[in-house]
């Protein structure tokens, strides 16, 4: 029982990071139908920027988190402006390949400038382990979970309660109609990228604290897994992406704990294919029918 609880706690903290990443994928896909391959690399940028400010400017956790989110948001908007906006009218495969190119550029550019070796992430808060009934919880895990939950709730509030959130929902339903009723589509898309990328930046610093290690290629696999999470929960849905993230975290921790950690990536991809085949709209997604 204790080990089960312990694994659940580990799964929740890993899952909350996937959930934060998945939210960005989900929002961007919901609004411009693009698998933003570069999203995982924005998370890498966030982690590296946090590493820099903590080491050089001795920022504390809150300021480092905020600065990673800002850097994430800025890079997201810049990428959208230069790489995706000129292709708004192009076939989708062209945009997808551009996204792959941007991801490639960020990974290799970062490897070129800082070297491809992994480096250890500074301990921004001292780790304290609490022992509750035989279950080990560290304050870092609690911090990750709480930060992620706060960010998810505020995102949901932004999307549901603010004017910009309403514009985002309108554009994701029908961009042309949204434009007709006076929504500035380009601004709304930029805002979506800013929000999603800020969450990716936050996920970057959290994963740095969780694994204590960062490297320029760290965004690749979690990026794809987070996309799996977004698909699992139903693309375009905030609660769906959060739930999907937690599910992927639980699945991965489960396979790790039963001694099949070498196959955990394969299992995630297998789940992806099965979900796509049997539940293409995800858990919270809406089914759309194609008309001739």
């Amino acid at each position: 029982m204790q080990t089960v609880l312990q694994q659940i706690i580990n799964a929740l903290s890993l899952g909350s990071i996937y959930a934060l990443l998945a939210l960005g994928y989900s929002m961007v896909y919901g609004i411009i139908n693009l698998i933003n391959f570069a999203h995982g690399d924005i998370y890498m940028l966030g982690a590296f920027f946090a590493y820099y400010v903590i080491n050089v400017w001795h920022f504390n956790f809150i300021t480092a988190l905020l600065s990673a989110m800002i850097i994430g948001a800025v890079s997201g908007v810049v990428i959208e402006y230069f790489a995706y906006r000129p292709l708004r009218k192009s076939p989708r495969i062209a945009v997808l390949i551009t996204a792959i190119g941007v991801s490639f550029l960020l990974e290799n550019g970062m490897s070129y400038f800082v070297g491809s070796n992994a480096r250890s992430f500074p301990q921004v808060i001292e780790q304290v382990n609490y022992n509750i009934g035989g279950v080990q919880i560290s304050n870092v895990q609690i911090l990750i979970l709480v930060t992620a939950l706060i960010l998810m709730v505020s995102l949901q509030l932004i999307i549901q309660k603010t004017k910009m959130g309403r514009a985002m929902r309108a554009v994701s339903v029908d961009p042309a109609a949204a434009e007709l009723v006076g929504v500035n589509v380009n601004h709304t898309i930029s805002f979506t990228f800013a929000l999603g990328s800020a969450l990716a930046g936050a996920a970057g610093i959290l994963i740095g604290m969780y694994y204590n290690q960062i490297d320029p290629l760290m965004g690749m696999t979690p990026g794809i897994k987070a996309f799996v999470a977004a698909v699992l929960g139903g693309i375009g849905s905030v609660p769906g992406a959060s739930l999907g993230g937690f599910l992927i975290g639980i699945l991965e921790t489960f396979f790790q704990s039963i001694g099949l950690s070498a196959y955990k990536d394969a299992v995630v991809y297998l789940v992806l294919i099965v979900i796509l085949l049997f539940l293409p709209a995800g858990i919270f997604g809406k089914n759309t029918k194609e008309k001739v």
Partner: protein, 318 residues
Amino acid sequence: MKSNWKYILSWLLLMVGGFYLINALIMVGVIDDFIENMLVTIGINIILATGLNLIIGFSGQFSLGHAGFMAIGAYATAIITQRMSSEAGFLVSMFVGVLLAIIIAAIIGTATFIRLKGDYLAIATLGAAEIIRNVINNLKITGGAAGLYNIPQLCSWPTVYILFCVTTIILTNFIRSKNGRAIKAVREDEIAAEAMGINTTKWKLAAFVLGGATAAIAGSLHASFLQTISPSNFGIMESISILVIVVLGGVGSMTGTFVAAIVLGVLDTALQSFGALRMVIYAIVLILIMIFKPAGLLGNWEFSLKNLTRHFGKKERS
């Protein structure tokens, strides 16, 4: 058919001529080991990229898992030739690799093509290729993450050249056949194609399987020529670099794939000294091409001797 023999013969002559040209240049010493290596890499890349172009450019299905099939061919060759180090062993291994790739491509294809298209298909094929790689990474017979080395070198440039000609002939003829037209119809409009009585799933699957089989051949050549392979050679990066060749040349143009593979192969050798910066340049080139010329260098233009002679014929008359 009768009227085409002239073109068939001239293509054949071109291929044989190309063979003797390379042979002569090697004898004279113009092509040294370094350039020979480059030519073999270009040849293997052309086999890979033409296969992927068939899937993406002609059947319109976006696959991001081409390296998975390459891995199957490479590991089949590595494992079999390490135990049976002869020319016959190489042929057997290639056959086994192609067969395995066909079976696995058929399984992946039937599972995914029925329901998925576009980006979802891309991500599913990417996942499938990663599953293949993950399994190879964990098996004993494949040497795990360290890979296999000391694979006997049973193929040299003539083997690559011959197989490159054979796969090209098969692919281009397939595209120009009745079946090829069916595949292109599926690409243009699936619903309209279905209304015309084309079994869309079947033809998408056919293109996918044929592309996978050629990737396995390229994988066999890769393993036998380079003599060391490891799972990390066949990751997402490899699939993407094949995709870059296809996209750069023009999705739907086999000529474009040839040109792009040669240009990138030469560029790659020339930029060798830049190290990590090479990949940065690659990425920037990819983005810029997509933004300014989304159809690739040659769009869907094809080189054809028939059009060439017709063109010159017209000029002479006028």
